[in-house]
């Protein structure tokens, strides 16, 4: 698991790559925390998340809750198939409120 940070038009983009599971959760939380209290729009890109479990999900919920509390904007984007499956299972699409795009297959 790794996080790649990118700035774009005043937004911060966090690309989470690898697994968001109990094994990486502590590390992920530590890397995520500095970004959560900050001003400005934050976008977490989930395209490269290959696996996500309850521990990973909790961190996304935490991020959303912190953003709401600080009244900053948090966007989750480009959800990978694994993330979409979990959001669907837990009926969390509305909670996060981000547009979900079903990934196309390349020829579709």
């Amino acid at each position: 698991m790794s996080i790649r940070t990118e700035s774009q038009d005043g937004r911060t983009l966090l690309h989470i790559e690898g697994e968001m599971t109990i094994y990486t959760a502590a590390d992920l939380k530590a890397q995520l925390m500095p970004h959560l209290g900050q001003d400005g729009e934050l976008e977490i890109v989930l395209a490269e998340v290959c696996e996500i479990d309850s521990a990973g999900l909790q961190l996304l919920i935490l991020a959303k809750r912190e953003a709401t509390r600080n009244e900053t904007a948090l966007r989750l984007s480009r959800h990978s198939r694994a993330v979409l499956e979990v959001f669907d299972l837990c009926n969390l699409a509305a909670f996060f409120g981000d547009p979900l795009v079903i990934a196309h297959s390349p020829n579709g």
Partner: protein, 734 residues
């Protein structure tokens, strides 16, 4: 059953047989050391594994019977039951019955017949008598409590047709490897989640939130035809540290209210949540709340406790004290068990191939020698060396310690001595001595017979022994050791010994010896291995019908072995069996007579002596050679096998030794050492004496393998007769 499952079943059968053997051995050990926790552990584990694996294959008769045995063993282990001789006897019988169950149920796929079934019932009765009050529960088949019938939709019930499941996972769940999401996925496999709300209210602020703790909760509306038990079982693994509420379709409103009160979140927020998810209608929520405030005479509250699935497993605080000791035992056991299980045919095939390799190698060496090419000869000699190592290695693969066979007799000795009213102890030594598996398999029966014979005829009744000034307990010794390329197995007892007079009388009656001959003790005693010879005055069910000792001898001879007996009147009898280590390959010494080649097993060859021209005439007349002052009887193989042609220019004597006897084989040529694969002779030649097999030489010619023990026995007998009856001297020269 699919092939792979069938293979697994075969594995199970082999495993179970092995475990039963171990169990029996351990039970016998328990007799002398009733408090030994290791032994008890081994017995328990054997029964435990047999039962556990039987369940996998649906072998219910085995599971059901072994379960009771296991329960008794557990009580023994826990110290709730004492080890007694009766209990051990019962458990041994149970082991036998389990064996029978394995054979009938697992091997044949059948059912016990009426007799066996009746026997089992008897065993069960006796086992029950050892179990105390608790048993009834254990024997009762598990019956699921009937589902409470659901009354549809009166005032007190909700209208929802869905199950409502409320989950609050404990903080440790994730660390324990459980992922709440996986339970949701599982619910989707036994039904379909219609609506779900994910709650994270218990998650603390960012700084104190622990990423490895679980803060999740779910309120679920599940559509499912599954029974309550099935749904509840979903959460078996997390029940201890989670709050779980399962409400059936059309559940009581009061149950919902009760649940809402128990949940950690804000009451009204949850109530709204349930209303919005369709679990409750606003009216139902209102009515329920009202009922809570003014409890009437009906007692829904009490019911709640029963219906809400709040399961806390009672923890009996039992601590395994002997853990360290057990792990020691397990280490020892694992050392014994670090084996690869290989099918015997595969090994046989390998050994066969190695045999061919040996022959082919010999052929190549022969060609190399003829070529006079030094480099080639060197190369082939390296190859020969390696082939020899491979041969030894391959043969070692098939070597097993004889201990397993020996240990099986503990039980026999125990049972037989009880039956005979004698007190007999079996002492085993040399259990680690190894020999070929194919030999081991065939030696069991002869050994069994010899042991029974010793117990029956050799060892006296306790009173008799005491009268003779001996301890009342009789001793049987089984011993094995390696000796000049053979394995020797000794069975000795400290009984009354053989009755020389009676044997002599019997032998004369049966014309086995002439009425005037006075045979030596050894000769006389070995007559009991002749067919139809029995001196027992009392015939018992075990032995003594005169069948047996000759069969024993025949079986041993068929293994290229020999048997001899010596006895001291009043002190005991010892039977010594000598067997080749393997039946497959021998190191041979090749000799030639005219054009024919013969192989003498190398381990029997002592030395070779050239016969000088002078000696030749003298020895031919005398039939023996003066070997450094020792009389060496000679066998003239040319005459013995009726080989045409005149003796070669030179003759040689191969001095062979078998057991205590020596003899000289007179041959033309000494062709040197030669390792060879034994090819058994066909049935046609089975009556041929003096030949034990054949082999193919490197050049393709056939060589016969000499049965040295038979030849030596023949000549020593003749020689000893000759000593008494000089007229019979010419036997060797036909």
């Amino acid at each position: 059953m699919s092939t792979s499952l069938d293979q697994a079943l075969q594995t199970y059968i082999a495993e179970a047989r092995e475990l039963l053997e171990e169990m029996e051995a351990a039970l016998l050990r328990l007799e002398s050391a009733p408090d030994d926790a290791e032994t008890l552990g081994a017995i328990f584990r054997a029964a435990h594994t047999i039962k556990g694996s039987a369940g996998l294959f649906g072998l219910d008769p085995i599971v059901s019977f072994t379960h009771i045995v296991e329960d008794i063993l557990q009580r023994l282990r826990d110290g709730n039951l004492a080890v007694t001789a009766q209990l051990i006897a019962l458990l041994l019988e149970c082991g036998d019955h389990m064996q029978q169950l394995i054979e009938v149920v697992a091997v044949q796929g059948g059912q016990l017949d009426a007799t066996a079934h009746a026997h089992e019932c008897g065993l069960r009765e006796r086992l029950y008598s050892y179990q105390q009050a608790v048993t009834e529960e254990a024997c009762m088949p598990v019956v699921h409590a009937p589902e409470p019938t659901i009354e549809v939709c009166d005032e007190q019930h909700v209208s929802s047709e869905l199950w409502h499941i409320s989950l609050r996972f404990g903080p440790q769940v994730l660390r324990n490897g459980m992922d709440p999401l996986s339970f949701l996925r599982y619910l989707n496999s036994i039904g379909s989640i219609q609506r779900i709300s994910t709650l994270s209210d218990s998650m603390p602020p960012m700084d104190s939130m622990d990423a490895e703790s679980c803060y999740l909760g779910f309120e679920i509306e599940l559509q499912s035809d599954a029974e309550r038990a099935t749904i509840a079982e979903t959460f078996d693994f997390v029940r201890d540290d989670c709050q779980i509420h399962i409400l059936p379709p059309h559940g009581k409103i009061a149950e919902y209210i009760e649940m809402l009160q128990q949940l950690p979140e804000d009451f009204s927020r949850l109530g709204e949540l349930l209303v919005s998810s369709g679990a409750l209608t606003p009216q139902e929520l209102e009515r329920g709340l009202a009922a809570q405030e003014n409890p009437s005479g009906n007692q829904p509250q009490q019911l709640l406790g029963e219906i809400l699935l709040e399961q806390r497993v009672v923890q009996p605080a039992v601590v395994q004290a002997a853990l360290d000791k057990q792990s020691q035992l397990q280490e020892q056991r694992s050392r014994e068990q670090r084996y690869v299980r290989v099918q015997a045919d595969k090994l046989d095939e390998l050994i066969n191939l190695v045999g061919e390799l040996v022959i082919a190698g010999a052929g190549a060496s022969l060609l190399a020698q003829n070529c006079q090419d030094e480099a080639l000869q060197e190369a082939t000699s390296v190859v020969s060396g390696l082939v020899e190592e491979i041969r030894d290695g391959a043969l070692r693969l098939r070597m097993v310690p004889i201990g397993d066979t020996f240990n099986r007799f503990q039980r026999v000795v125990r049972d037989v001595s009880q039956e005979l009213g004698k007190d007999i102890e079996l002492h085993i030594s040399g259990a680690e001595t190894e020999l070929d598996k194919s030999v081991v398999e065939k030696i069991g029966d002869p050994l069994m017979h010899l042991l029974r014979n010793a117990m029956d005829h050799g060892i006296e009744l306790p009173e008799v022994r005491q009268a003779a000034g001996k301890p009342s307990k009789g001793n049987l010794h089984l011993n094995a050791y390696h000796d000049s390329g053979s394995i020797v197995i000794e069975i000795s007892d400290d009984g009354r010994g053989l009755d020389r007079q009676r044997i002599l009388q019997k032998a004369r009656e049966r014309d086995l010896i002439s009425s005037t001959a006075t045979p030596t003790d050894a000769e006389l005693y070995n007559l009991i291995f002749e067919a139809g010879f029995s001196t027992a005055s009392a015939i018992t069910s075990l032995s003594g019908r005169g069948v047996g000792m000759d069969v024993v001898k025949r079986n041993i001879t068929a293994l290229r072995g020999s048997v001899e007996l010596d006895s001291q009147p009043g002190l005991g009898t010892r039977v010594r069996i000598r067997l080749p280590l393997t039946l497959a390959i021998i190191d041979g010494f090749l000799v030639g007579i005219s054009q024919a080649s013969y192989v003498v097993p190398l381990n029997m060859v002592q030395e070779c002596v050239e016969l000088s021209a002078d000696d030749r005439r003298a020895t031919r007349e005398r039939g023996y050679l003066n070997l450094r002052g020792e009389v060496l009887p000679l066998i003239f193989l040319r005459e013995h096998f009726n080989i045409d042609g005149s003796p070669g220019r030179r003759e040689n004597v191969v001095v062979v030794r078998c057991a205590e006897h020596k003899a000289g084989l007179v041959v033309d040529e000494l062709l040197g050492e030669f390792q060879t694969v034994i090819k058994p002779l066909g049935k046609l030649f089975s009556t041929l004496r003096g030949i034990s097999g054949s082999t193919i030489l490197g050049n393709g010619a056939v060589a016969l393998i000499l049965d040295v023990p038979a030849l030596v026995l023949q000549i020593t007998r003749q020689a000893s007769h000759a000593a008494q009856q000089p007229a019979a001297l010419s036997i060797c020269a036909r």
